[in-house]
């Protein structure tokens, strides 16, 4: 391994003091959906030269036929003796076993990386079953694991939903941050008339742009540098829900336009999601004409929407973005929230061969304590008001009144964080 001390600093809260000279990023797509995303990214790289340049792409699947259709990436078939190359048939158990059988090959695929982006669709057998295993292996090799996962459409049925929920829980226990994209929200992005192919393509595009934005933060020469350590400190070990959104603005009011586009992204829930976040990463990409005022105009409204969050930002310059500004927000809620409809039996994959590392549950407890301490400090905000449901009160079920990205149905004093009395 290039950095022998890596495994000792792999714990979520361990401070990273030395920075790798160049951050090595790998993107691993697991299962059918993951493979499609990898294909999409590979294709996008053909057209946009700087898009995720130099990033290794790996597609992992049990289904040999599906792997054949993946182009432009290294492929790895797992669980051949188990499935005879025919896929997991929607059974996560088989997906997980396949990954465990081929753990050595997977380990070889994920080592020598500082950051692993894991792409998967969680409803299926391989995506849902193998992705948590891959995440665990990658973490054991010292990488920061960020998972971008698609959650199945609700019309795909209850069984797939439950599978996905279970897989999401498992993945959260293994990866540093999990960013879920509910496919249902795709409807709102692509419109009802879109074909299925368009919808899935859009999903791949979204996930790809999320990975791109993060990678850009790490790899580009920036106006304001965001480094690997900062990323690790904020996203690492959070085990929270994540989401992201992008926006592009052009012309004179590019910052304002970009922020507006960002807010209109359905993945943001009209700004609601930001209000819950504990960590917000803002990535700005602009041309050489990017001014600090643009940066300020972009960051300020976003941080106002996320009053509780620790905001980290980076700005990078790209010649092709002259007169344009792209902003990407990646946010994570901190503590693990209880997921409605969570299966009663929670399967926890215990990491073998790492006795020093805490089991997946304890970090959550630590996290909870941490939150309580925080609450004691900012007593007003959260003591009795779980922002999720109570704060809209009477307007809980009505369409939110969004003005400049704020939900006006939420009491003014709460939105502004004003302490009463």
């Amino acid at each position: 391994m290039a950095k022998p001390d890596k495994s000792s600093t792999a714990g979520p809260d361990a401070p990273v003091t030395t920075l790798p000279p160049k951050v090595r990023v790998k993107i691993v797509g697991v299962g059918g959906a993951g493979g499609n995303t990898i294909t999409h990214i590979a294709a996008a790289r053909q057209t946009q030269t700087r898009w995720l340049a130099g990033v290794e792409l790996v597609a992992v699947n049990t289904d040999a036929a599906a792997l054949e259709s993946v182009t432009g990436a290294e492929t790895l078939q797992i669980g051949a003796p188990l499935t005879h190359g025919l896929g997991a048939g929607g059974d996560q158990e088989i997906g997980a076993r396949a990954a465990q059988q081929d753990a050595e090959r997977l380990t070889a695929a994920v080592e020598n990386a500082d950051v692993i982006f894991l792409m998967a669709g969680l409803g299926g057998g391989t995506g849902g079953g193998a992705a948590p295993v891959v995440a665990r292996l990658a973490r054991e090799k010292g990488a920061l694991v960020l998972a971008f996962v698609a959650l199945p459409f609700s019309f795909e049925g209850e069984r797939r939903r439950q599978q996905a929920t279970l897989a999401l829980e498992q993945l959260k226990a293994q990866a540093d941050a999990v960013i879920g994209i509910p496919n249902d929200k795709l409807f709102r992005i692509v419109g009802e008339q879109a074909t299925a192919a368009e919808a899935f393509h859009k999903c791949d595009e979204l996930i790809g742009s999320g990975a791109q934005a993060l990678w850009q933060l790490l790899a580009r020469k920036g106006l304001i540098n965001l480094d690997f350590a900062a990323l690790r400190m904020t996203l690492g070990g959070k085990h929270g829900d994540g989401f992201f959104s992008t926006g592009l603005g052009e012309g004179q009011h590019k910052a304002r336009e970009a922020v507006r586009a960002l807010q209109e992204n359905p993945l943001l829930d009209g700004g609601q999601a930001l209000a819950r976040s504990e960590t917000v990463l803002i990535s700005i990409l602009g041309g050489p004409d990017l001014t600090l005022t643009d940066v300020q105009r972009t960051v300020e409204p976003i941080s106002r929407l996320a009053p509780r969050a620790h905001v980290i930002m980076g700005a990078a310059i790209d010649d092709e973005f002259r007169g344009k500004l792209a902003v990407t927000v990646i946010a994570a809620t901190g503590a693990a929230r209880s997921v409605p409809g969570k299966p009663a039996v929670q399967t926890v994959v215990v990491r073998p061969g790492q006795p020093a590392a805490p089991a997946p549950q304890p970090p959550r407890k630590i996290q909870t304590v941490d939150v309580q301490v925080k609450n004691a400090r900012t007593q007003l905000k959260q003591e009795t008001l779980p922002l999720d449901n109570v704060s809209r009160g009477r307007f809980d079920k009505s369409e939110p009144t969004i003005y400049d990205g704020q939900d006006l149905d939420v009491p003014t004093f709460l939105r502004r964080g004003i302490r009463l009395g």
């Binding site: 809209r392 009160g393 307007f395 009505s398 009491p411 003014t412 004093f413 502004r416 004003i418 009395g421």
Partner: protein
């Protein structure tokens, strides 16, 4: 025009109440309010219907109440619509004067207005109003009536107010389901302005803010014409909701507290308010200062958002007559001072100046919209058939369009 129908009824289906105002049109075209009926509203949120049945019952109750008070039978109403989906913009139409004398005739005027109303709005939207603002003849500004003038090019500015068709229809359907005919509809802000502003105010420039239960509807007059209008889906309900959340009390108590002790003046000296015991609720003490603070923040914010809109449109300098606040929230204590501080303009807590009548209704800001509807009836009767013969050519066209618009609304 109203020869057969001397009685007109304005019906406002609001978030907190449904109210019907019965007006009598006198021979000199002045209006006398002869009766008012109202019912607590149920099934409306932020100005829009969420429960048709419940709203139907409320309308029925309000109309029955009005019929009793005014001693008339109500068959048809003028209705107001509101909701956060309502948008507006200004548009200009142009025609080339192309007749032998080179003189502008009513035909050209009709034509240019039609041209100005032909606008691009979203597919699911429908135009509620297209109100003429001013004309230009060969570029000459500020012409109020161009008929008879000579010129080659006639232009007209109109203010177009549009909203989502299905949502507007919900209110209309509710009214129709209780066997009432709808003569015409108007947006709340426009109706309120008709009730509150005199023509002098309109000339001087004024903004009317109708702060109701669920929405704050505003409309700006500049030099006698409507310059801007909008709906902010924030109203008295939001204040109550904030209080309920901030003081941890149920909505109905919050509403009561707002009415009995509420003020938007802040800071104030603190007084402890004892909440009386209610079944199942222990005695509680709340701080009036805290109550005032919550209300102050919300109302100040709402006013500031409206001010921001006006600033964006560059209209603040044209409000010579100042700010007129009406609607139920106009009763909030300290509102005048707060609004003055926010706008830096004279503020009037408005009630209807433009109608007469023995009832106390005209003194109450919450009836402005319904009273305004009665006035709206004067200028916008349902009957378009008395078009002068000279206009008939165009009248037919107008009618066709009117019919199309009505078809949208299932009149």
């Amino acid at each position: 025009m109203l020869a057969k129908e001397q009685i007109v009824v304005g019906l406002e289906v609001g978030t907190s109440k449904v109210c019907a105002v019965v007006g009598e049109v006198l021979e000199d075209r002045n209006i006398l309010i002869i009766g008012v009926g109202q019912a607590a509203s149920d099934g409306v949120r932020k100005g829009e219907v969420i429960d048709m049945q419940a709203v139907g019952r409320c309308i029925h109750e309000a109309i029955a109440n009005a019929e009793e008070n005014a001693n008339v039978e109500v068959h048809s109403v003028y209705a107001s619509v509101s909701g956060g989906h309502i948008r507006s913009f200004n548009n200009r139409g142009t025609v080339i004067v192309n007749n032998d004398e080179g003189v502008i005739t009513p035909a050209e005027v009709q034509n240019v207005l039609l041209n100005a109303k032909a606008v691009n709005i979203p597919m699911d939207h429908v135009v509620v109003h297209a109100i003429r603002q001013r004309f230009y003849v060969d570029g000459q500004d500020g012409i109020q009536n161009p008929v008879g003038m000579g010129g080659a090019k006639l232009e007209a500015d109109v203010h177009v107010i549009h909203g989502v068709r299905t949502r507007l229809q919900n209110t209309i359907r509710c009214i129709k389901q209780v066997e009432l005919e709808i003569e015409n509809i108007a947006v709340s802000s426009f109706a309120s302005a008709l009730a509150v502003l005199t023509s002098e105010h309109q000339q001087l420039g004024a903004v009317v803010i109708d702060m109701g239960g669920g929405t704050a509807d505003y409309i700006v007059y500049r030099e006698g014409a409507i310059a801007h209008s909008g709906v902010l889906a924030v109203g008295g309900d939001h204040i109550t909701n904030d209080i309920a959340i901030g003081l941890h009390i149920p909505m109905n108590r919050a509403e009561q507290l707002k009415i009995e002790h509420g003020t938007v003046e802040w800071p104030i000296a603190d007084v402890i308010i004892n909440l009386k015991r209610e079944v199942g609720l222990p005695d509680r003490q709340v701080s009036r200062e805290k109550l005032a603070h919550i209300m102050h923040l919300r109302v100040e914010e709402t006013l500031k958002l409206i001010k921001k809109e006006l600033e964006k449109q560059g209209l603040l300098e044209y409000l010579g007559a100042g700010v007129f606040i009406t609607g139920g929230c106009a009763r909030l204590r300290g509102l005048e001072t707060l609004a003055q501080a926010v706008f830096g303009l004279p503020v009037h807590i408005g009630h209807s100046h433009t109608v007469g009548g023995p009832t106390s209704a005209i003194e109450s800001p919450e009836y402005s919209t319904a009273i305004g509807l009665v006035r709206y009836a004067l200028s916008h009767p349902r009957d378009h058939q008395q078009t002068p013969t000279r206009w008939q050519r165009w009248g037919e066209r107008v009618q066709q369009i009117v019919h199309k618009v009505r078809a949208f609304f299932c009149f």
